[in-house]
Symmetry: C2
């Protein structure tokens, strides 16, 4: 075990901390070979050094005061915590502009997430490739998803399609959803008592409307 790293505690890590880990990871990977203080990690990620220290303490990472965290070791630790030390298999639903952009993005940037299947209802798209993956029909998507061991579904489908699709996918064993349709997905808890699938919504309406508020605040402040 690396000096200054303690074994992970069983303490529950807050979701907000989990959401900051990818930012730390990116900064640490960019500085591999270095040691980074909380302050330096803060500057690179936009969080306060206090926040960095608090977050990293959750999983027992203690930087040596004034010397900081060894970037590479801390990066692997974070990858392990996030579950990124083994490949995550994803299926993309919807091969429109958004789906195409997402597939290319994931292929270009994610060694740890791999899109193993793309589904779209449009027969004209079937057999075409996006970032190396062939677009398939929706005819047998549930068996395909099970055969391929898909853990995560990325939904870039019309609003009305998202909820019924997510329900069928959850029943087929998909455990995580990245949903771009501006609808709230509600998934029943599995009958076997296992926890319900994780849903992350990326809702552009919310981003735009929230941004409107902050822009307005600026206007007021400038008057």
């Amino acid at each position: 075990m690396a000096k200054g790293m303690l074994p992970r505690t069983a303490r529950r890590i807050p979701d907000a901390t989990i959401r900051r880990l990818p930012a730390y990871l990116r900064a640490l990977e960019a500085e591999a070979g270095q040691r980074l203080t909380s302050a330096a990690l803060g500057v690179l990620t936009g969080f306060s050094s206090e926040q960095v220290r608090k977050d990293l303490a959750y999983f027992g990472a203690f930087g040596t005061r004034g010397v900081g965290y060894p970037a590479q070791e801390l990066a692997s630790e974070i990858r392990h915590i996030l579950g990124l030390d083994h490949e995550l298999k994803a299926a993309l639903f919807g091969a429109g502009h958004l789906g195409t952009a997402l597939a290319r993005y994931v292929a270009a940037t994610h060694r740890d997430v791999r899109i193993v299947a793309i589904f779209d209802p449009d027969p004209q798209k079937h057999g075409t490739e996006i970032a190396g993956t062939v677009v398939e029909s929706l005819a047998h998507f549930e068996t395909e998803v099970q055969r391929l061991g898909v853990a995560v579904a990325i939904l870039a489908v019309p609003d009305a399609a998202a909820q019924p699709l997510a329900q069928r996918l959850a029943a087929a064993g998909v455990r995580g959803f990245l949903n771009f349709a501006p609808v709230m997905l509600t998934l029943p808890a599995p009958a076997d008592g296992s926890p319900p699938a994780a849903v992350h919504n990326i809702d552009l309406s919310i981003e735009l409307q929230t941004l409107a508020y902050f822009v307005q605040v600026h206007e007021t402040a400038q008057v």
Copy 2:
């Protein structure tokens, strides 16, 4: 003034509350003409009724116990607070797959946000239309943005382009950024003492890596 609504206080509303307002707004607009209790609003948005009550109290909205909030009035109040009672002008940078998807999405769903200009370096795209807006060259984007009164820039550009572009746009008076490039934008505070531009990052890496964690937690829980 509507019964049960008090004038807005000058109290600072937490960002997390602001981020939940669009979800309340969507639910309230879907139920216009009804009255909604905190519990009902909670079910529709996925937040606890306690959270709903706390959030709405920030801007002086008090539902009558057991009768709830008048949906339409509360919706206009939220629109006012978010600054959505007047149109927000946005410029889109990047007319690739992501940019195209975003332009169509905004045109289809946002009566309060309007994309008034689309810029892309590719000459083949110049003069083509996306959702009714013509794609222009980047030759004079700063003067265009000022002429059109653009408040918000949506950046769907390659990573390396985002930071220099955002700096020039901020200098040209753009006050809000919706950034899809996986880089942290740092904008200097304006020399005139006005607050720095608001930046919202939509980082798919972070969403995917966070989702990996929650999927992994499920696996562990199922063992």
